[in-house]
């Protein structure tokens, strides 16, 4: 099937997933101890407030109606107000989520720039010193907690050497990029370790494949073989892995934002959970779930583009 049809199909498949997410979030909030109204209002709420929220949530109505009201509120972007910060949840999300996305995207980019060339070196010099050094280094990186690495990088490159700012986010686009470099690198390390390991194994598998021999038998230049034949095939499994690692990446983002004092959605999530600010938690969960689904879609599409066998 042509690529456009495949894309359309996958987009359609996104809809039930989104519905599922809505259901899960709806259920989770109602599972919390206490009733949703006091969850939303906190301890401070006049009777008038309580009545208003009750009506808004449809507490006295049946569950399906409540769910419908919930869905409606999501689509009108009215996710309630933050108890702690006293601002609309939607506004908070719009302000903070892009920061996390920027951090995560930059980290992914750095991770790829690290993982791909090193995976090639390690694979092509398999079992030699370079390979063992690279694998050993990444193994240590994998065992290193994100907050520890962040703390060290922040201290060495920020506080001591003054090459980078000591946390914070900055104002202009370039300034923000500058602020994000250190935290993105922290976040990138464990991801690049996982990617490198997988890519290295994939390259080794591909390099021994017959079609590489055939390509050599055609007398093609080694660089061409490497890029067109080896890399494209090796990337296929790595792209899938990358998609699956989004969850871990977002988790790491939470910690990184804490260490580097970056005003992102991750930190907001933690603060909100601490502060029992349920409207924010609910809104953020929704937003994150949607974000993750879209990332999955993108990686699926990337994989279909790389590997024509998938879309059939």
């Amino acid at each position: 099937m042509p690529l456009s049809e495949f894309i359309a199909r996958r987009l359609l498949q996104l809809i039930p997933t989104l519905i599922f997410i809505l259901i899960v979030v709806f259920v989770l909030v109602r599972l919390l101890p206490g009733d949703p109204t006091s969850a939303i209002l906190g301890d401070r709420g006049t009777d008038a407030d309580i009545d208003r929220i009750n009506r808004q949530l449809g507490i006295d109505r049946s569950i399906p109606v409540q769910f419908w009201l919930f869905v409606k509120s999501v689509f009108t972007a009215d996710l309630g107000n933050s108890i702690v910060l006293k601002r609309p949840v939607t506004e908070l999300i719009v302000q903070r989520l892009p920061v996390t996305v920027a951090l995560t995207a930059l980290a992914a980019l750095i991770a790829l720039c690290l993982a791909v060339p090193l995976a090639f070196v390690a694979a092509l010099r398999r079992d030699q010193l370079a390979d063992n050094a690279i694998r050993g280094g990444f193994q240590i990186g994998l065992s290193m907690p994100v907050f520890y690495l962040g703390l060290i990088l922040l201290t060495v490159f920020g506080a001591k050497l003054h090459w980078f700012p000591v946390g914070g986010y900055g104002e202009t686009f370039l300034d923000r990029l500058y602020h994000l470099i250190l935290p993105a690198t922290t976040l990138a390390l464990s991801l690049s370790a996982v990617l490198m390991r997988n890519l290295r194994a994939a390259i080794i598998g591909v390099v021994d494949a017959e079609y590489v021999s055939f390509a050599r038998a055609k007398g093609l230049a080694p660089r061409l073989i490497l890029i067109r034949h080896v890399l494209r095939n090796a990337l296929i499994s790595t792209v899938t892995l990358f998609g699956l690692s989004i969850g871990t990446l977002l988790g790491g983002a939470v910690i990184t934002e804490t260490v580097f004092a970056i005003p992102g959605a991750g930190r907001l999530m933690i603060d909100s959970i601490y502060g029992r600010d349920y409207p924010v938690v609910q809104g953020l969960t929704l937003a994150l779930a949607v974000l993750v689904s879209i990332t999955f879609l993108l990686t699926d599409l990337l994989q279909a583009w790389l590997d024509p066998r998938v879309a059939r």
Binding site: F20, V24, L32, P33, Q139, I140, L142, S143, M144, P145, V146, F147, Y148, L151, I152, L154, T155, A159, K160, L244, I246, G247, T248, L249, L250, G251, G252, V254, I255, T258, V259, M269, I270, I273, Y274, R276, V281, L288, A289, V292, S293, F296
Partner: protein
């Protein structure tokens, strides 16, 4: 059978050694720690590493080395308790689901996918925030989410084993399904889950120390590596040893588990 002269792979030996030492330190910390881990010593605040205090003291005068050694107990506990329940429960559920197959398995797959995709850490923090901070709640939180990884691995393996001849033989002999699943298929299917368990323990230490750092796991004044790092995070430029040394042990212990897992995987591969 060449079993007698099998050379154990180096990762296995190295990992085993690290973990062996870790277990000893976890069980008998007082025998090795020179000082009381929670005793303040106002006369020795934030001292740099010296002969008396090889890893220095923290801002309360506590000996960093002794705290690190005592932290072994908590962090090794975390490695075990945050994973073993998930392992057992996930294995059982995975075995049954993988055997039954069909719609159940498809549905289960969807559920697993949904859980796996969501940021693990966020889920755990959310659960901990509802239950309240503390080690036991952390074990619960991690297990509640973590069992699906084991279930997925086991279900896939059981699916493969189910098609092999000896499974048919069991059915031909009229064994009950339960017996087939647990006495015949599972022993053959369990190896990947055990290898994953090793990796999971390394991840559990990372997770546990992260929660400790955030204040949601082990609670001060308990000695736990994440807590120690948090203790020292504001003193990185003046008393770096408070945070730096505990981190090294997180890395070391995590490496131990990873190496053990790699070594086990190699041994299993060779056995095939």
């Amino acid at each position: 059978m060449a079993a007698a002269r099998v050379r154990l792979p180096r990762p296995l030996i190295l990992g085993g050694a690290i973990l062996g030492v870790s277990m000893i330190l976890a069980i008998f910390p007082s025998a090795f720690a020179p000082y009381d881990p929670i005793a303040f010593d106002y006369g020795a605040l934030s001292q740099a590493p010296s002969l008396a205090h090889p890893f220095g003291t923290d801002n309360f005068g506590r000996d960093v080395l002794s705290r690190i050694i005592h932290a072994y107990r908590i962090d090794m506990q975390i490695a075990i308790f945050a994973t073993v329940f998930a392992f057992v429960f996930g294995t059982i559920v995975g075995a049954v689901v993988g055997y039954v197959g069909g719609r159940t398995e498809a549905l289960f797959g969807r559920l697993v996918d949904a859980i796996i995709t969501f940021p693990f850490l966020v889920l755990v923090i959310a659960i901990v925030s509802v239950l309240g901070p503390g080690l036991i709640n952390m074990y619960i939180a991690v297990s509640v989410v973590g069992w699906v990884f084991y279930a997925r691995i086991i279900a896939a393996e059981i699916k493969v084993q189910k098609r092999l001849d000896y499974a048919d033989a069991g059915r031909a002999m009229g064994y009950t399904h339960l017996r087939i699943i647990f006495r015949h298929l599972l022993p053959n299917a369990i190896t990947p889950a055990v290898v994953y368990w090793m990796t999971d323990m390394a991840l559990a230490i990372l997770l546990g120390s992260s929660l400790g750092y955030l204040g949601l796991g082990a609670q001060p004044p308990a000695a736990e590596w994440g807590v120690q790092i948090a203790d020292g995070k504001n003193f990185m430029t003046t008393a770096w040893w408070i945070s730096v040394f505990p981190g090294i042990f997180i890395i070391l212990t995590g490496l131990g588990f990873s190496l053990l897992g790699d070594g086990l995987a190699e041994v299993m591969r060779a056995r095939k």
